[in-house]
């Protein structure tokens, strides 16, 4: 070979190449190439490039000729096939052979990469190469380099598949390096460098490989790609129709599309532009036809099942025939054809399914709609659910309004029943999907806060401001509080239930309370009831009483409210200790209990009511006050006689009875103690008791017309008086000497009777004021919250302020737009804040 030095360039190529070309052709045809020939090829290429200035270009051209020639032969083989399957099969065989070689043939020609005469590959090598072919190539490269020193094996006999070649090459490398020849180190370093550069993909950058793939693309693929695709799609189509075909053929076509790409940056380019596109189109066309057909034949409900099944089926099929990058695109397209195109007819079934609680079908529909990307279907379903809950809930309430407006137990139970029904629906049909839970909550809120069945009238502004509007609000919170009271007080209901059942129901109440807008109403009533229970000692279970306070804290009731409740319990406990001490200090007052309350914590005790107490009590009072003064200097007691109560022994000719009465009732009854048989006029009773008019009427009414007892304690003249308002100054009252407790139709000689009943522990006037004070409190809360926000923000526009305001207040009540506006005006008027001069919607805090 060295003799070639000095010869003209042209001659060197001509002399060396024809020999080498034979080896190239052998390689292309996958014939056996001996190790010697393989090495000669490396040497020859190197030699030509070294001694011939234009050697690289010449080799490249020669190579191209051979490759194209080979491809043309292959093409004619493929084209000769008529049948679709035969065509595919032949093509795949030829392509796989060629592709295998595209990993080996470039190796000897690496010299060409350095040559500027050969057009460099378009993309720089990225790491995204297909791992197996790259590593196989690199090891065989290392083996070939190492094999130069010691020749033992038929290395690189590349008639076998690529994996086989790589293992045998690796084995060759191992034997050669263990042979201990002089070039071992260089071989090792060579293989090391090959290994490190293998990450870049040796053959993928190669111009020769690019040449091979581009030539294949140009000469064979370009001509028959339509036929190939078509054939593949026909197979898929047949498979969809239930005929079995060789799936491998389709897979083979896809592989050729993927591997054909010589674009290193986007290996899937050709695949995407041809195969994927065709597959998507074929799929869409197939189902466009089928879906309409199915729907018309079997109806929408059956169609949903069909669509669901097909979507799954196609997902499995896609895993077989498509690259992973196509899965989403295909699903998208399928969803469009199978669902979105039929969206309206599917959705149209939704209301009926919800109405009939067809959870399985709804679940199916939900799964289908959930695939639709923009959520249009799910949204429509949410709307249907919301409408259904609202209308069904309200209809249910309205149909039972007669009972439930009277009976808070029935109301709450009905409400919970509804709630559980809808929650079940959401769980079973929509897997408790958060979006549907929200829809349920919104609808439930509407039911709970609806004012068409019950409402309470709240004045929207304070009375002395002139015009008085009323804004109706749902009575729900009041009824909830009443129900709580029934569970916590000693009532037939609480006696019937076990402790666990009561707990569960209280939890339920809190659940409903979550949906109530005006929680402040609940708090108010709950507090009134609690006050009653604590003062009268009628709690069924004091532990539960304190539990529920903590639960209220947990569900987000305002802390100061909950703290006040806790304070009430503390007061009662302190009072018990005080009582013991009092009794120890003065032996003659065994019958006296005192409850000393912290004025701020309890339900507002309004104004004190004067009453002339029975003489015995008048005696006790100074003792209590003296005792308390000794215990707590600097404090003075204020009596709340409208809350005081006691037990009296009532003796008449018939029997002897213990009566639980309020202090007011006590005062009235004691009027007869000195003149048992007299008839006393209303006017004189007022003088005797010193009670204010409304209180006296209420108290008298409870004695002449106490509900559910056969014989009343007091009788009156005239008898035909229908309400406490109708008492006149000269209406006469007298003791019923025949009074007796009647049980099972028999008059009892002994017995105990509670005459306090449902009498409010508040005074008549404060009861009237109740609703107004709720409004008053709301106004204060709103003002307070506005100032709180503005103090931090300094400047804020109207919309943001309102949003934040509602956020702060929502645990108590929902402030109406009107109220917010009024309070803003009030605050501006009183110079707490002002409007921006330029922007009327911007508020500025004034310190």
């Amino acid at each position: 070979m060295l003799r070639a030095i000095g010869k003209r360039d042209r001659d060197i190529f001509d002399e060396v190449w024809p020999e080498k070309r034979k080896i190239v052709l052998k390689l292309l045809r996958q014939e056996t190439v001996s190790q010697r020939e393989w090495q000669d090829l490396f040497f020859g290429v190197h030699f030509v490039c070294l001694w011939d200035e234009k050697g690289a270009a010449k080799i490249y051209d020669g190579l191209q000729q051979d490759i194209v020639e080979f491809i043309v032969q292959a093409q004619s083989k493929v084209q000769a096939q008529r049948g679709e399957q035969a065509l595919l099969a032949t093509y795949i065989v030829e392509w796989r052979k060629f592709f295998t070689q595209s990993n080996y043939l470039p190796l000897p020609f690496r010299q060409l990469e350095q040559s500027p005469q050969v057009k460099p590959p378009s993309g720089s090598g990225s790491a995204s190469g297909s791992g197996s072919s790259t590593s196989a190539a690199s090891t065989s490269n290392a083996a070939a380099a190492a094999g130069g020193s010691s020749s033992s094996n038929q290395a690189a006999s590349s008639s076998s598949s690529s994996t086989k070649a790589s293992t045998s090459a690796a084995a060759a490398a191992a034997t050669s390096s263990s042979g201990g020849a002089s070039s071992t180190t260089s071989a090792a370093s060579n293989s090391a460098s090959a290994a490190s550069s293998s990450k870049k993909g040796i053959t993928e950058d190669s111009p020769v490989r690019k040449l091979m793939l581009d030539s294949w693309n140009k000469h064979i693929f370009h001509d028959i790609k339509d036929r190939l695709q078509e054939s593949a799609m026909k197979i898929v189509h047949a498979e969809r129709n239930g005929d079995a075909y060789d799936a491998q053929l389709v897979v083979g076509v896809r592989e050729s599309y993927v591997n054909l790409s010589s674009n290193a940056e986007d290996k899937l380019e050709i695949y995407r532009e041809h195969f994927e596109k065709a597959y998507l189109k074929a799929t869409a066309d197939f189902y466009r036809l089928k879906s309409t057909e199915q729907q018309q034949e079997n109806g929408v409900l059956a169609y949903m099942k069909y669509a669901d099944a097909k979507l799954r089926e196609e997902e499995v099929r896609a895993k077989r025939y498509l690259e992973p990058s196509s899965f989403n695109i295909l699903t998208c397209r399928l969803v469009k054809v199978l669902i979105v195109d039929h969206l309206n007819s599917i959705i149209a079934e939704c209301p009926a399914l919800i109405r009939d609680y067809e959870t399985d079908r709804l679940n199916l529909m939900f799964r289908l709609m959930d695939r639709v990307l923009d959520g249009e279907g799910v949204e429509a379903m949410m709307g249907d659910l919301q409408r259904h809950i609202k209308s069904a809930g309200l209809a249910d309430m309205q149909s039972a309004s007669e009972i439930i407006t009277q009976d808070s137990e029935k109301y709450v139970e009905r409400l919970l029943e509804l709630f559980n029904k809808f929650s079940d629906l959401v769980r079973n049909a929509f897997n408790d999907d958060p979006r549907f839970l929200t829809a349920r909550d919104i609808a439930f809120k509407m039911v709970v806060n609806d004012t068409s069945v019950f409402k309470m009238e709240l004045p929207t502004s304070i009375a002395n401001r002139g015009v008085k509007y009323t804004a109706p609000e749902s009575k729900c919170p009041e009824l909830l509080a009443n129900y709580c009271d029934m569970l916590l007080r000693r009532t037939p209901l609480s006696k019937r239930l076990t402790s666990e059942q009561i707990d569960a129901r209280l939890r339920d109440v809190l659940l409903v309370l979550k949906y109530v807008n005006n929680k402040d109403v609940f708090m108010r009533y709950h507090k009134v009831h609690l006050t009653r229970r604590l003062i009268l000692g009628t709690s069924a279970d004091s532990e539960k009483e304190e539990d529920i306070v903590e639960w209220l804290r947990e569900v987000g009731m305002p802390a100061d409210y909950v703290n006040r409740l806790a304070r009430m319990f503390q007061d009662i406990k302190v009072s018990e200790d005080l009582n013991t001490q009092f009794r120890n200090s003065i032996s003659r007052h065994d019958a006296i209990n005192i409850k000393i309350l912290n004025a701020g914590a309890w339900a507002r005790c309004s104004e004190r009511v004067s009453v002339s107490l029975p003489i015995e009590l008048e005696d006790y009072i100074p003792d209590v006050e003296e005792f308390y003064k000794k215990k707590h200097s600097g404090r003075k007691l204020q009596w709340y006689h409208h809350m005081s109560n006691g037990t009296i022994t009532f003796v008449n000719n018939f029997g002897r009875y213990d009566l639980d009465v309020t202090t007011f009732q006590m005062a009235v009854l004691f009027a007869w103690n000195q003149r048992q048989h007299d008839k006393i006029s209303y006017e004189n009773l007022r003088l005797a008791t010193e009670l204010p008019d409304p209180e006296l009427r209420r108290t008298l009414w409870s004695l002449v017309a106490f509900p559910k007892i056969k014989k009343q304690i007091l009788l009156m003249e005239p008898t035909a008086i229908g309400s406490p308002k109708d008492f006149a100054e000269n209406t006469m009252f007298y003791i019923n000497q025949e009074f007796a407790i009647v049980k099972n139709g028999k008059s009892q000689r002994r017995g105990k009777l509670n005459l306090i009943g449902r009498l409010q522990l508040s005074t008549e006037r404060s009861q009237q004021e109740d609703n107004q004070s709720i409004v008053q409190l709301r106004i204060l809360r709103t003002q307070e919250a506005i100032i709180k926000i503005m103090k931090v923000r300094k400047r804020m526009n109207n919309a943001a302020l309102q949003a934040e305001l509602i956020d702060i207040l929502k645990n108590m009540f929902l402030p109406s737009k009107k109220m917010i506006k009024e309070q803003l005006e009030w605050l501006i008027e009183h110079k707490y804040m002002r409007r921006d001069d330029d922007d009327i919607n911007m508020f500025i805090y004034v310190a």
């Binding site: 003062i535 000692g537 100061d560 703290n563 006040r564 304070r567 019958a591 006296i592 209990n593 005192i594 409850k595 000393i596 309350l597 912290n598 004025a599 701020g600 914590a601 309890w602 005790c605 029975p614 015995e616 009590l617 006790y620 009072i621 209590v624 308390y628 707590h632 200097s633 600097g634 404090r635 003075k636 007691l637 204020q638 009596w639 709340y640 006689h641 809350m643 005081s644 109560n645 006691g646 037990t647 009296i648 022994t649 009532f650 003796v651 008449n652 000719n653 213990d658 202090t663 006590m666 009854l669 004691f670 007869w672 103690n673 048992q676 003791i735 000497q737």
Partner: protein
């Protein structure tokens, strides 16, 4: 007929007996709390000095802590001593 009392539960609340309406330090009513507290009553008690002036306990303690040397009543400048009854 005769009525006798078997037992009786009297309900009352208490208020401070102060010789003034408002606390001389925070100017808040004795009926309510000092500015730091939320709930009137035991949690925010009143205290009296031997000079007979009366303040929220929280207020006077804060005041006394601010006086480096002579602990004086802020009203009459007599040296402050708690009046323990």
């Amino acid at each position: 007929m005769k009525v006798t009392i078997k037992s009786w539960t009297g309900v009352a609340s208490w208020r401070w007996i102060a010789n003034d309406e408002n606390c001389g330090i925070c100017r808040m009513s004795f009926e309510s709390t000092c500015p730091e507290c939320a709930l009137p009553g035991d949690d925010c008690p009143l205290v009296w000095g031997v000079c007979s002036h009366c303040f929220h306990m929280h207020c006077i303690v804060k005041w006394l802590n601010l006086q480096p040397l002579n602990k004086q009543c802020p009203m009459c400048r007599q040296s402050w001593k708690f009046n323990i009854h």
